[in-house]
């Protein structure tokens, strides 16, 4: 087959153009894959030995640059906590917006197009700008100007909310991942056959009942995919949390919404730029990278799997 396709239809001579063209584009493809493989293998080979039960369950109480004793539990907890909080904020808003876009809005109306444009643009805003937004809006405006004076008017000097905190980092990330959730949910809502909705309406259910009882349960895998994709995107992001909540070092775990937190991605940045001896601390640096990659890749793979299942179902239904 392969040989045939490289022979021109008319002359039967060897087709150099095809050989060259396929070769170049194929090379580009495999070069990308090779780079990906090099990165992953390099990280795994160097990081695997540093990975141990102790590393995952220990904190930094013996110094964060101590190769034998340092662990990343506080960072794992910090990253999980901020991502979990983010999910709580982003899923309801994202899903509701997607419901509006698919179930209520006319796809051609100007209004819908503006929303779609906004969603697309939100996805393209640089993550560092989200970080600035977190500082300008959440910390300085909501926290400092609104919440602090409201919650303790007698003590104007006290600042509880108007400073970097895990809740502001999570909210910033929630705004950042909003498009991911909207797009994924929309996709899964569209995959549900129109007949299902019509059948429900025909039986006398109202539109809202149809959405809640028929459409949403069907769309659940898609919503989950959106959530997982958002989580995997947010888990590795460092730029938006640099000034909205991540701490260089903390002795204790965050125990309230207004505490700062340590973070896996930020810890990688810290380890690769500020340790007192890069060569000596390289094992914990690599091991931390492996932990973060395992986390984001697992989430990505799960999302890809769920999504593939969903598409299969969609194909079967249509």
């Amino acid at each position: 087959m392969k040989a045939d396709s490289q022979r021109s239809f008319q002359t039967g001579r060897f087709d150099y153009g095809s050989f060259f063209f396929t070769g170049v584009t194929g090379l580009a493809t495999y070069l990308i894959l090779a780079t990906l493989a090099v990165i992953l293998i390099n990280v795994l080979v160097n990081g695997w030995s540093g990975l141990s039960l102790h590393f995952i369950t220990a904190g930094t109480e013996n110094g964060m640059f101590n190769v034998d004793k340092a662990g990343v539990l506080p960072m794992i907890i910090g990253t999980s906590a901020r991502v979990l909080l983010m999910t709580i904020f982003v899923i309801p808003v994202g899903v509701t917006t997607a419901i509006y876009l698919t179930e209520y809005a006319h796809s051609s109306s100007i209004f819908t197009r503006i929303i779609r444009g906004a969603v697309n643009n939100l996805a393209g805003v640089p993550s560092i700008v989200f970080g600035l937004f977190g500082v300008g809006f959440f910390i300085n405006f909501i926290g400092h100007r609104v919440m602090d004076p409201m919650l303790h008017p007698n003590n104007p000097e006290l600042i509880v909310w108007g400073k970097p905190a895990i809740i502001w980092a999570s909210l910033t990330l929630a705004v950042m991942t909003l498009p991911v959730v909207i797009v994924a949910t929309e996709e899964s809502l569209k995959a549900i056959p129109q007949g299902l909705r019509e059948a429900s309406l025909a039986l006398g259910a109202t539109k809202l009942q149809t959405i809640i009882k028929i459409v949403l349960p069907q769309a659940l895998p898609g919503i989950m995919t959106g959530g997982i994709l958002a989580v995997s995107r947010a888990a590795g992001e460092v730029a938006p949390i640099l000034f909205t909540g991540a701490a260089y070092y903390m002795a204790s775990l965050p125990h309230s919404l207004t505490d700062q937190f340590m973070d896996l991605g930020y810890h990688i940045y810290v380890l690769s730029t500020q340790s007192s001896n890069v060569d000596k601390t390289a094992p914990i640096l690599y091991a931390t990278v492996v932990v973060l990659l395992l986390l984001t890749f697992t989430l990505n793979l799960v999302a890809i799997f769920v999504r593939a299942q969903m598409r299969k179902k969609l194909r079967a239904l249509n």
Partner: protein, 283 residues
Amino acid sequence: MKKLISKMAVVAAGLAVAVSAQAGTITVKGSDTLVILAQKWAEVYMGKHPEVKIQVTGGGSGIGFAALQSKQTDIADASRKIKPAEVAGCIKAFNARPTEYKVAVDGLSVYVNNDNPVKELSLDQLHDIFTGKTRNWKEIGGNDAPITVYSRENSSGTYEFFKEHVLKGQDFAASAQTMPGTAALLQAVSKDKNGIGYGGAAYGAGAKALGVKKDEGSKAILPTEETVLNQTYPIWRYLYNYVNPALDKGEIQTYLNWIRSEEGQKIVKEVGYYPLPVGLQEK
């Protein structure tokens, strides 16, 4: 006698109540240079006084001062002296100058690559290199090769200290590469045989610390504990703690005194900085 004892008991009980009422958390915030040391202090101290909780966060000297001004922290760690503008902010916030405590000594080393034949430089030569006047190693007795200057990010106290004391306030050369941390800087120097950079006491294969001469005539001195402590090594600095004087009582005072005691200063050495001269220590 009995009366005295009962009186003492009452006083003791009163003190205990006062202490437990005060027993909250001491928050410490500021310089990344100091954060590991501050953490070690906090740990040892909490081990001895389980009733005290100490929370340590880094971020940078400026962050510590900002937090002090907005009363978000009890103690601000700093690797540089407070600036007048920051003092003004503190006065606006709590009507007094913050109290300054010297808590440790740090020597700043100048690093070059191991393969670099240059072993010592004077402060003037360093000034010229880092401001970009001297651009080739052969001008200062090295190989014929361009100098690559590595500096720190301008948010670090180290940057400001070096700028003020070695560059005499002048700007770093624009071509200086700025590294986000001492580790990145040291790694860069160890990989670049024409590189030069500065930083706190850090260790890395491939880079060495230079001897520094106060001026052309004097002897070059390597940064060691002895030379930093007897102040013959010219580039050294104090590390500071700042505190709102109104809070400098009770537990916070005890803690700050303990840091500067012989016991606290022993930890300074373990972490890699230099203890205060005995005259400045708390007895």
